[in-house]
Amino acid sequence: MLCEICGKNEATIHIEEITDGKSKTLHLCGECMAKNPSLGGVDINAFNLGDIICNWAGGVNKKHSDNGDNNSESSDNKKTVICDVCGWTAEKLHKTGRMGCPECYRYFHDMLAPALNTMHRGITHTGKNPAGNALSPEREILIQISALKNEQKKCIAAEDYEQAAVLRDKISSLEEDLKRQNTGAENE
């Protein structure tokens, strides 16, 4: 079955919507799903997460090759990524939509980042820490930045560009702080 949006790719995602008690199924491909987070409001577990992740990663890899770097590898870049810790491969990630071990997040980070942005409301954890794991100064700054970015989004949506600019400056000053923190830690 072909994707109902682009009509080109094979539909691998099937979203069921209920309208007035009648159900209607929308069939679409991973690429169109990734491009249309507004179709969201659907259960992320109900379709193949692996497709979304890898369609995004495919796009990312293409961009790299356009820039001319790593031209020789770029086309099957995503197939060659492997987690040195547990042996999980990009192919397995594609097939299951799952990671193989906690360290996989380091190895597959670039593949995953765009998909995380679609799936979640932010890309920085601002919630609890394991008990006894005190908040590091670095994390405190990250959390502040994330909160300011949310605030900034709201301002832009409300067309309050003045306030948005103020927030932007605050964010970049915090990002400077973060850089200083990091280099400080490396020099120790």
Binding site: E16, I44, G100, L112, G122, I123, H125
Partner: protein, 351 residues
């Protein structure tokens, strides 16, 4: 062979169905689960039996360290099929947990309000459930338990990505919060489709509890958060609670309107459902769910002064195949089960 602990579990009433909670006429229960994993161990999907057993040993010893002695522990490889179905029907364990041959288990408090699956999709899936609409209280409970556990366990955690989970859709807080809602008013007045679509547009997941998709039996719906990263746990709960509060409001208004404009239709439906359950000799699970839903609606409207809403709640679980089989003995086919289901219902409603 059956695990004798299952019988002990069956003697208890199901805490989150049998007790009272806020807004319980519409919100049946509030549930939160946290996904946690151990540093230095592969996720279960990438483990062999031996690795799974290592994880289980680590988690079990942390559990034995700090728990009240009356918690129950089940090992999947020591359960028979009927035991597994009982745990599944009580929403304590998932089919994925049972797919593991070794190293998978379940811990639960006797009232089933707090439980832990070991080696499901993640090393730990902690779950807390309370009756009615009280997500903050559920979070308080599960947060404290998670802190106690983490004192003895080295959780996989990243300062930017939060709790590292097998599926990236759980990353960050690892938290899925949900409320089970009974929405017969919105269903009977044909507003449910539009309302649920609105909820989905706001990026919350909605699913029927019984049956998939449009085949929504029992008018029971579960609404949960989808995003787990970028917001703190209290922020997620606040956003979800706001939408649940609105849904409860809509349902109340739909019920009032039905009673004001179509009371005879409503009384007729409820009365017929009661007649069915009270006098039937064969009862399919679908008919049971739909009739129970109407009776629950009738109880909320004061049509049955003698009937208790919590008994109706528990019947939603007790009409399922494994529970029926435990109560009345094994039967050979679905038709024989329909006979048992009808018998149980007649007995319960005779009171």
């Amino acid at each position: 062979m059956s695990d004798p602990l299952i019988d002990k579990l069956l003697e208890n009433s199901i805490g989150w169905l049998a007790d009272s909670g806020p807004d319980e006429d519409i919100a049946i229960s509030s549930r939160i689960r946290l996904a946690r994993n151990l540093n230095g161990c592969n996720f279960p999907i990438n483990c062999d039996d031996e690795q799974l057993e290592t994880v289980e040993t680590i988690v079990d010893s942390a559990m034995r360290g700090g728990l009240e002695p009356d918690w129950m522990n089940f090992k999947v490889d020591r359960l028979d099929d009927s035991d597994k179905m009982i745990l599944f029907e009580r929403r304590l364990a998932s089919k994925e947990l049972f797919s593991r041959k070794r190293g998978a288990g379940l811990w639960t408090s006797p009232d089933e309000r707090l439980s832990l699956m070991v080696n499901e999709e993640d090393h730990l899936r902690i779950q807390s459930v309370l009756p009615g609409f009280q997500l903050e209280k559920v979070y308080e409970t599960i947060d404290r338990f998670d802190d106690e556990l983490s004192a003895g366990l080295d959780y996989a955690f990243d300062s930017t990505l939060g709790y590292l989970t097998c599926c990236p859709s759980n990353l960050g807080t690892g938290m899925r919060a949900s409320v089970m809602l009974h929405l017969p008013g919105l269903v009977l007045s044909n507003q449910i489709g539009g309302v649920l679509q609105g909820v989905r547009k706001l990026n919350f997941a909605v699913r029927g509890i019984f049956g998939e998709g449009s085949d929504n039996r029992g008018n029971l719906f579960q609404v949960s958060n989808q995003s787990t990263l970028g917001e703190s746990e209290p922020e997620i709960i606040e956003r979800l609670s706001n939408i649940i509060g609105k849904l409860i409001d809509y349902e109340k208004r739909a019920r009032q309107r039905l009673l004001a404009k179509q009371s005879q239709m409503v009384f007729d439906r409820v009365g017929r459902a009661y007649g069915t359950l009270r006098y039937c000799y064969m009862l399919s699970s679908e008919e049971a769910l739909n009739s129970l839903s109407l009776i629950r609606f009738g109880v909320d409207m004061g049509m049955f002064s003698s009937m208790d809403i919590h008994m109706v709640n528990e019947l939603f679980v007790r009409i399922n195949p494994a529970h029926l089989q435990r109560a009345y003995g094994a039967v050979e086919d679905a038709q024989a089960r329909d006979v048992l289901r009808a018998r149980m219902m007649r007995e319960r409603l005779r009171g």
